[in-house]
């Protein structure tokens, strides 16, 4: 036997295990929904487990039944057609990072996925888990809102589709009900002249929870001169990831040379409501948010400028 420290730890785990605990790993969504409707609040859905198990082993809650989605192949598919892409909720960050379709049409979603955690985390963590966990710092979330993603929620009774911005209610709070499952993420194919930028700020490169993150997706009118649509979405600076709506009226219908980047940066800074926490202070977040907004605009202007010269 090992040293007493090991035994003590083992003892604690055993005491946790004395509560009867069940485990389900169905092959079909329908079976999963059936189990979900039967057990309701008693069951915990597990996808990659990279957030869930950290919370579980910190003993934040007790689990009496697990519903593991790993065997449901349907949830791992990424399908694309002319109008939209459908990403199964169990697609891992590694899949998002390496999918050629996602790289081509949604480059900042791919980048955001590659910025998550570490290889070990990206291999297990899933897009669905990232969404349902609903961390204000969830790395994929600003990009998903910026690309106008919609989530398909299914239950044994009905299906519904909600847009990403309506899904999050607060830190770790969403509109998802106990009997519902997030099955896929649907994102429309962006317009031809779409430019995007993703900036994540934190203390190191790997295994870093964002102090501030920003996703900017901008599309130009057919002439590639006038801004037709823009979405600026932020993470870690409010209780949920969210879009700065006021940016739209300042940018849509204008050209790059008419924009005052400083003013736009200030506008973003004024609209966020960050807090002090271990990753950064409120003041730091405000300052940095303004700066990364300006950086993102400059980066997009540069890429756009290059496309003008071609």
């Amino acid at each position: 036997m090992e040293a007493s420290f090991g035994d003590l730890k083992k003892g604690q785990k055993n005491c946790q295990r004395t509560v009867p605990c069940q485990y389900f790993a169905p092959q079909k969504i329908e079976e999963a929904l059936e189990i979900l409707s039967k057990y309701g609040k008693e069951i915990k859905i597990i996808a990659g487990g990279t957030d869930l198990l950290v919370q579980y082993y910190d003993r934040l809650y007790e689990v009496s039944a697990w519903l593991d989605l790993k065997n449901i192949e349907e949830l791992k598919e990424i399908k694309i057609d002319q109008n939209q892409i459908e990403i199964g909720a169990m697609s891992t960050h590694t899949q998002l990072e390496s999918s050629a379709d996602i790289k081509r049409y949604y480059p900042i979603l791919s980048q955001a996925a590659s910025d998550i955690g570490s290889p070990q985390i990206r291999n297990r963590g899933t897009i669905g888990g990232n969404i349902v966990n609903a961390s204000p710092a969830g790395d994929l979330l600003p990009a998903l809102i910026a690309y106008r993603a919609q989530f398909k929620l299914v239950s044994h009774k009905e299906e519904s589709i909600v847009s990403a911005e309506d899904f999050f209610l607060g830190p770790k709070k969403t509109i998802l009900k106990f009997e519902q499952l997030l099955s896929k993420i649907i994102i429309p194919i962006p317009e031809q002249n779409t430019y995007s930028s993703w900036i994540k700020i934190g203390k190191r490169k790997a295994l870093m929870v964002a102090t501030v993150s920003l996703a900017l997706v901008l599309s130009m009118a057919e002439d590639n001169k006038i801004i037709q649509e823009v979405k600026v979405c932020l993470g870690s600076v409010a209780s949920t990831p969210f879009e700065i709506m006021e940016i739209r009226e300042k940018m849509i219908g204008r050209q790059f040379k008419q924009l005052d980047f400083n003013e736009l940066g200030q506008l973003v800074e004024d609209r966020i409501s960050p807090i002090d926490d271990i990753r950064g202070t409120k003041g730091y977040r405000q300052e940095v948010t303004k700066n990364i907004m300006i950086n993102a605009l400059e980066k997009i202007q540069e890429t756009w400028g290059q496309s003008q010269n071609d």
Binding site: K10, K13, C15, Q16, R17, T18, V19, P20, C21, Q22, Y23, A25, G40, K41, E42, I43, K44, I45, I46, G48, G49, T50, L53, V54, Y56, Y57, R59, L60, Y61, E62, V63, S64, W66, D68, K70, T94, G117, S118, P119, Q120, I121, N123, R124, K172, F178, K205, A206, L207
Partner: protein, 178 residues
């Protein structure tokens, strides 16, 4: 959220046991476990494969890294039943005491092992990286081991060891890396 605050278990000591089957280091193993057992506990306690280390238990340090179905995973963040049917390689599955894996040799020669706690995870991360990309540059090496913390070496010797492994493996043909 469908979870309850932790409560002390009452008089009910019934434990649900699950039978799972997995391949660990090319050997088929059938094990009975409780659903909330972690893969790392299954490996260390049930199979006595203590080469896999537990550092943080939160997926941040990479000491518990194993290769599961060809992918690097943190075994502290996998429930044992999630590994049902999986193929797993731990550090014990690489080489043997008289015949080390080229990466293990390179780690020793380069002085990439100090306290040794991160080494099993580090070597498996290196192995997986070289399987996927036999000739990574320095940035790719750093990214490949970005999920593994080392508090002794300052990483330089580890990176040198991986570079040495690249040379060794490409000389001895890619066959050995498999």
């Amino acid at each position: 959220m469908p979870w309850k605050r932790y409560r002390k278990p009452g008089g009910n000591h019934r434990m649900t046991k699950l039978k799972i089957e997995l391949m660990v280091n090319r050997k088929k193993r059938k094990i009975e476990i409780t659903p909330s057992t972690r893969l790392i506990d299954l490996l260390r306690d049930d199979l006595q494969l203590t080469g896999t280390k537990e550092g943080c238990g939160k997926g941040e340090c990479g000491a518990c890294t194993v290769i599961m179905n060809g992918e690097l995973v943190a075994s502290c963040l996998v429930l044992a039943p999630q590994a049902d049917g999986a193929v797993i390689t731990t550090i014990e599955g690489l080489g043997s005491s008289d015949h080390l894996d080229p990466i293990q040799e390179a780690f020793i020669e380069s002085g990439a092992v100090q306290c040794g706690f991160c080494t099993p995870g580090m070597i498996l991360a290196a192995r997986r990286l070289l399987e996927e990309n036999p000739h990574p540059d320095e940035e790719e090496i750093k990214r490949g081991i970005s999920g593994n913390l080392c508090r002794c070496t300052g990483y330089q010797k580890i990176i040198e060891a991986i570079k040495l492994s690249i040379a060794r493996l490409s000389k001895s043909d890619s066959g050995k890396a498999k």
